[in-house]
Symmetry: C3
Subunit: 386 residues, 3 copies
């Protein structure tokens, strides 16, 4: 965003900028049958979802950097922290990153949290993820089609910022490709696919991944994973399908992950998959912002911003999604689904108000919230980018 000034050297080679994003959420959940002091899913409150600051710049025409951290957990957690270079390759463009960089994985996941249609990303992105999460230390490369109809990315990461180094890092390989088979003005069809492979260190003991089903605030409304001990490797892949037609847009995603146990420990496999289908419509005539270059959603161009006496942009959106830990050693894991109805207001190009209403159900086989349960969650967010 251009909320903070950018400083550029007289020769245009060097630059420096500070930026940030503030996201404040409120949330209330009702209807769960777990409603007492020991195990309460009907929780309410507020949180600072993201309090980010970053410094970025160019040290030369060919070398940029970024150092970003999030203060929302009342500490400083590193996000992007990388060096960047780029060059042409035939008619295409290549960007290379060294350091800690956010993953290119799923359409919803590769989209900035400032620009997703719903307050939280889809279950496909949240659940079908490597153990290290969405950031990893390593090398990432992206190639962009000269005609901006496709891009591909590849990443090799080893470990995380701040990890204890008394064991070897897990190594993760990840790739994503998108292609626009049809484009006409702002209308388009998007196809995408991605996958990753993780090689677990011999000392890694268990893979276990609960996933929140309501919103981020509610830590108790989760789909509970089954754990698998002594993991050897994990393989995951997914597909993306999306379209934007005038003020309407829709997207569908699917992903699956398999975690293989080490042979000497039993050679079992834990499998789970997730899907999401979502649609959005701008009541005020905007089209959905989309990057043909990177295959991700962008902020809409607000037709009637407040600063020009307008009312901003209004968008309605709906999503249906599910996650199922359908195969695990010994016994099945949990599953769950959610229906989300969203209303977004974009007063201008640097702020957004979001309201999400989520109907969710879970069926967990372990933990504090076993058995079938359902509830509804009302959430709101105020977001500003500077």
């Amino acid at each position: 965003s251009d909320g903070a000034p950018e400083f550029i050297s007289p020769d245009g080679e060097r630059s420096f900028k500070i930026g940030g994003r503030l996201q404040f959420d409120a949330s209330t959940t009702h209807g769960s049958r777990f409603d007492d002091t020991g195990a309460d899913r009907n929780v309410s409150g507020t949180e600072a979802r993201r309090l980010r600051l970053d410094a970025s710049g160019q040290l030369a025409r060919w070398l940029g950097y970024k150092l970003e951290y999030d203060l929302a957990n009342n500490g400083a957690s590193v996000r992007d922290a990388f060096l960047k270079t780029g060059f042409g390759l035939g008619s295409n463009d290549v960007a290379l990153y060294l350091g800690n960089k956010y993953d290119d994985r799923t359409l919803d996941g590769a989209t900035s949290s400032n620009k997703t249609w719903f307050m939280e990303r889809s279950l496909v992105n949240e659940a079908i993820a490597p153990d290290r999460g969405s950031y990893g230390l390593g090398i990432k490369g992206k190639i962009y089609d000269g005609g901006r109809n496709w891009h591909g990315s590849f990443a090799i990461t080893s470990g995380e910022v701040g990890r204890d180094n008394d064991t070897s890092d897990n190594v993760t390989y990840m790739s994503r490709v998108h292609w626009n088979p049809w484009r006409s003005g702002e209308n388009m069809v998007h196809l995408g696919t991605w996958g990753f492979y993780e090689d677990f260190d011999q000392t890694d003991s268990t893979v276990f991944k609960n996933t929140r089903i309501a919103d981020h605030f509610n830590e108790n409304a989760t789909i509970r994973s089954r754990g698998i001990s002594d993991p050897d490797n994990s393989t995951a892949y997914g597909f993306e399908l999306a379209t934007s037609l005038g003020s309407f847009a829709a997207a569908a995603e699917y992903g699956e992950r398999a975690v293989d146990q080490r042979e000497e420990s039993g050679d079992e496999t834990m499998r789970y998959d997730a899907y999401s289908v979502q649609a959005g419509y701008f009541l005020t005539g905007e089209h959905h912002g989309y990057s043909h270059k990177s295959g991700v959603w962008k902020f809409p161009e607000v037709k009637h911003p407040l600063s020009a006496g307008g009312i901003g942009a209004f968008e309605i959106a709906a999503r249906y999604q599910g996650l199922d830990y359908f195969d695990a050693p010994d016994y099945p894991g949990g599953n769950g689904r959610s229906r989300t109805f969203g209303l977004n207001w974009y007063p201008n190009d640097w702020s957004r108000l979001m309201v999400n209403y989520i109907l969710w159900d879970t069926n967990n086989r372990s933990g504090d919230f076993q058995g079938a349960d359902d509830g509804n969650t009302l959430s709101a967010r105020v977001q500003v980018v500077f």
Copy 2:
């Protein structure tokens, strides 16, 4: 402060600024009868009291933001992190804040830590406080009298930055009003009152609040609270009286808090109160800085700053204060008092040196330091704001 530059867009609508404050303390305590390796109140040393950085700015004429954190605990703790807007209401001005903002509670407490007369705020502010401390996530509003003779504030907060969200937030309602019944030039009389009500979540287990009596460095010289289990709600209120007459100023404050237990747990109440009386005098002719708009103390305007070949401003100050956990279920809590003598040197409008000498006594009924005890603490601070 204007130690760091502010960047303003050509149309004057947007701005950006970085700021900070550095406070370094030294402290030594003597005279306590607890003086061995197991329980030592006669401790000495130094600490970085505050190492703050903040980014703030305006994104439009009607919307500002601030993101501030403190590095003094060798981590990054969030302080102010909010969005701000404002508008006129008749002849009055209204400011609204969304996010994490420092409370408007007690005269000494509402005053910036750069501007309080003593190194630490009064016991009224430190002890008669909500469980969440002096910051809370929520909405705060302030209304300022057009004639700048009074202001009122109201806040509803729910939870804190970085709190685990496995239970509902406590909700806190808070208000403060000040009025200047008399003003003549820089002379004035200040009246104020404030209060808050906390609604504890059903899962909250205990309210317990020790309060430091010497200075911030000494973690062992505290007045020990009695705990109350299963709190239902808490109510607190306080009064402020102050005057500034030429180079002399004085202030008196009182506050009381009651914490009610849940009915099914015994329906008991814990009560305690605190008071403080303080006076200050500028040897170099300045008057005490005071904001008629907000009802808080400000930095003095230094008559003879070092940069103009002067000696800066010198202030002497004294404070008497006490805190008493006089009523609690089962058995009484601790109590204590302190007399503080202070000398402040203001070389210019962005720095200050402080020396505090504190005579304190405590009478605790539990913990490592039971029974009557007293001691003296000598503290000093160097403070710079940029």
Copy 3:
């Protein structure tokens, strides 16, 4: 560095600047006989070695400040956080610091981590250190010879940023002096000596200090200390000898530390010492950057930077070093040595690539890795300063 802009007030009295450094490492170790899931020294991976940000400036001609923190541990750890003033003293210059400042101790240690010849500092610096590490809260002074042939420093520190203050701080006194008995252009001979004395608080229970022998990544390849309980004080000293002759430079350092137990606890002493010898040579004709003022290594002036179509500067370097916990109560501690071979590439004056190959051996008498062991570690670093 000048990667980020500096803002200077029109009168030149005030300034403000943001800076930072990014260091990303990769490391792989082989050859250790400890190679299983319980105790594995043959670990591999990557880490963000340093992710630093700092704000610094001048508030007046006579007063500067700096506030720096490191995000590499996925939190914010305070580094330099001080106020600074200076004045002339006869023909000499004096600088005074108040707050948290990096120590002036050993030639390799006093050199910035951006400018040391090897990825990690020598064992002399890493092991012959006070318990509080390389930063301490207090007052530091430096005096610089008007002819820039020597400097001296003295520091008194008490405690650390973020320490719990339930006991008194340890007080540490430290001094370092360097002298250039011969200088001719860029050629020089450097002599130096330093020492420190720590006064442990009566509540301090044990001194224990493991030291990494391979690189920073490998937390398991350490020389294990023997602990001494109830320490009373510690004394340490060291010597520096260095020379720079054309493109060649060499340095030798030695240091020893003794930790005395309190008399009533046994009055024992733990002793250990360390040495290092290193040499470097620029294949591209540069000389080793060196500050006659402060007696530390600096960045080389790259003769053929990339931006001018050159190949940058190439340096080869080798180091031999050892550490021995030769005397301790009851039983001996560990010892170890390493040989490091390094290749450094300086594309320009703000970036560096380093490769280090380390042959190490240890002989520990306690812990998970007892008995004689050896291995080899290959490490690489990418470093950018802005």
